[in-house]
Symmetry: C2
Subunit: 186 residues, 2 copies
């Protein structure tokens, strides 16, 4: 793994809303610490950073811009004029200028993390890959929550996370860990 | 459920390649029978039908157009000038004119089935929903195969299928059955 000035970091939906109790039990409880380390790495390198902020149209969502939980989590608050891109659906590439911005910067590799693994992250990875971007998903800087599958069986957050990663690996992205990224050549 | 002239049927990647042994053990062994019944229903109604055909760029893929397995499966072979749209990535909406065609026909509802549940179907449902289409996924006219999750645990095709459906239901589509569709008002 080699991180270059054309390696962009894209952070998806890391807002206070993801901590609301209605989501259920999460995995990767130290994900935010890893998010912060990777974000600091990109800041030190001076390579492109994009903060994706979800602006839900749903009244009851914690991601609705009218709610205090719409704010970024402390670990990933943008600084120094970093680019914030608002979106209102799951894919960071729908209804935004993210694709054009990446092309303008000649980005050939996207490092992505955020929440949640099987929703906006999975949709953004699938879509970005289909648009031709080479994506590295930093899995331990993502998390999700337990949920019932279609047959009514409760699946742990770790199982939901692991199922998404196996859907994505090789087919849509390379799944990597934060330590691999933090120790990569730059 | 009410099926109208603005209800399009989109059939994704139902080609002989999906029967190749390298995929593993599948679920929903009577899916093709249901696919045929639903396709016949749309033909009788005269409502829009789109056949999505995957044209893989990968040499070793059974979906490569140079291979005999690139052909449609018998149950869903297009007839009478039905529209066939080729794609080379997972989403039926990337690199195709499907979105424009749906808008031209004022389609407000998409009924979708095909293969496989957690790959081109899931990507196309996620993307189509984010583009604003109302999608009904006919789950028993889809199937998938067993696969190992990221932790190395082998998951049955039925479990993989059920996990995808729970990711999509409510968030990206309504999950329905073929009998609900076949018995719907038209």
């Amino acid at each position: 793994m080699h991180i270059t000035p054309q390696s962009a970091l894209i952070i998806v939906d890391v807002q206070k809303a993801i901590d609301l109790p209605y989501w259920g039990v999460r995995n990767n409880i130290d994900a935010e610490m890893k998010m912060r380390s990777i974000l600091e790495m990109w800041r030190n390198l001076g390579y492109p950073i994009f903060h994706i902020q979800h602006n839900s149209n749903e009244e009851a969502s914690g991601y609705n811009p009218a709610r205090i939980s719409h704010a970024f989590k402390d670990e990933t608050v943008p600084i120094n004029g970093e680019v914030v891109i608002g979106k209102s659906v799951h894919s960071a590439f729908v209804g935004t200028d993210l694709t054009q911005r990446l092309h303008q910067l000649a980005v050939d590799e996207i490092f992505m993390f955020g929440v949640k693994t099987n929703n906006s992250i999975e949709t953004s990875v699938r879509h970005g890959a289909n648009l031709g971007f080479d994506i590295l998903l930093i899995e331990d800087a993502c998390f999700t929550h337990n949920q019932k599958d279609w047959n009514g069986k409760l699946r742990s957050a770790e199982d939901v996370h692991a199922m998404t990663l196996s859907n994505l690996e090789g087919e849509y992205c390379r799944v990597v860990t934060s330590s691999q990224v933090l120790n990569a050549q730059t």
